[in-house]
Amino acid sequence: MWNNRCKVAVSGVGFSKKTRTDEVHLAEHALTAVKAAVEDSGLKLTDIDGLATFPELRGGGGRIPLVDGVSHVSVNCMLAMLKLPNPRWHIQGETVNIGGAFQQAANAILAGVCNYAVIWRAMHNRRAPYYGLTRENAAGPRQFSEPYGFSGPGGMSIAYMRYLELYGQQREKMATLAVTQRKHANKNPNAHFYKTPLTVEEYLDSRMISHPFCLYDCDIPVQAAYAMVLTTAERARDLKPKPAYLAGYGQRMVYNGEGMIDSLEDWMAGTKSSAPLTWEKSGLGPKDVDVAQIYDGFSSSVIYGLEGYGFCGEGETLDFIQDGRIELDGELPLNTFGGSLSDGRMHGIGHLVEGVLQATGRAGERQVKNVEVSFVGASMTQATTFVFVPNPY
């Protein structure tokens, strides 16, 4: 087991108020979220001395103009806004998405190079066709895919199709995931679809986007920022909320080259390479988990997480999720905040925040009873995994 388990804790979380697109510019979202996380911890902004983020610099397939503060919120941008009296450490990740930035901040806290680190993820949603192709020519790696009309949801839909045919499964069963997660979101005041229910009939009747994905298999793009404050376990115990202790974490260790098509087998290899690191550090396993947040940018992403992290066998997800198993009072409550599908496309920080709230009894109406072990699998392509616990060991 990891010598440093439960030595780092999340002391607070914060959100901005989601907008559908960029009517509120992204820097403002990020600042709101950071201030909220700091206040939630019972700290002052001037206490913050560490900054960590992952700004998506190739958003929209590289077609969105990069403007700091508008399309992404870099460390530079946050330093400029916060004007911290005592900044001592920062990281701006290029790989491993926001889970990786969180892990770097945990490492910095453990190394003693900063006292209170804030992590934020700001997601940009421009007012424009989402992932639309517009150019006459296809250059670079896209010369082998765009001429065939292959883009956007194509990347994930092909692997899901292979999964369905290989295991003789039916896409209709995924309705249970979408509908259950929407029920969870209907108890989450921060969720995009807080006030909008979803029925199985609506899922089955909805328009196909890229078969086997229908509308409700795709997450809802939003403009928002979430943030978290990380510190040592000792300092966290002096602060306001109950600390969420980090018992272990892992990262994906298997990757394809850039521009390569990701196969079903690649997604599975990715998730399978991450969870063992978390289980080894924490000394826990899937059977110990009381509540799980598993990345769901597309509904099929949940398959690679549930199966790759070891919660069920390969080919079993679409049956595993039935019969109330993933409901709040089920055997494995899943994506209890609504997930990316119903809370909003936040690339994994939503899952991290909910993992913390569930671990500390602060998930309000959607709180799962008696949570001792809270698992998070954040951001599909990077498969960062985490375990949070309310009671250090």
Binding site: L133, P147, S151, G154, I158, M161, H211
Partner: protein
């Protein structure tokens, strides 16, 4: 079941570069080539400056028979890209060539309704001329 009429689509034209030129030159001559690592024997597509298996730069394009299998596919039901609107819904297939296992090529399934796309189906290469410079490798069901 109606088949897509691809003549109605204004496809984006591939722009060959130094590394990808051999692929497009071969396609113009009606030959499908795939990048092959001289050091470890790994096949890969799209082409890349290094072998993704062993990182060697000793790569060449080798011809393949053009026969393969549909490894993955999905349908496009949504006309997000207006140029492809006339053929929605259509299949995007991912083909693994018999001679280049591990390499995955994006293509459309020509001369067949999109419902014919299935995992494991046998296909063979055909060539679709876009203009004097570019011919696109495509696939149809194997005879």
């Amino acid at each position: 079941m109606t088949m897509s009429d691809w003549s109605k689509v204004k496809r984006p034209i591939p722009v060959p570069d130094e590394m990808t030129k051999p692929f497009w030159e071969a396609a113009k001559r009606g030959v499908l080539v795939v990048q092959h690592c001289r050091r470890c024997g790994h096949w890969q597509h799209p082409p890349y400056p290094t072998c993704e298996n062993c990182m060697s730069v000793d790569l060449k394009f080798d011809p393949v028979s053009g026969k393969g299998t549909i490894y993955m596919y999905s349908l496009m039901n949504h006309a997000g890209d207006e140029r492809f609107a006339p053929v929605v819904p259509y299949a995007r297939i991912i083909v693994e060539p018999d001679d280049a296992k591990g390499a995955l090529l994006v293509a459309n399934l020509l001369d067949a309704p999109y419902t014919e796309a299935k995992i494991g189906r046998r296909v063979e290469v055909v060539f679709e001329k876009l203009n004097d410079e570019i011919t696109l490798p495509q696939f149809r069901l194997a005879k």
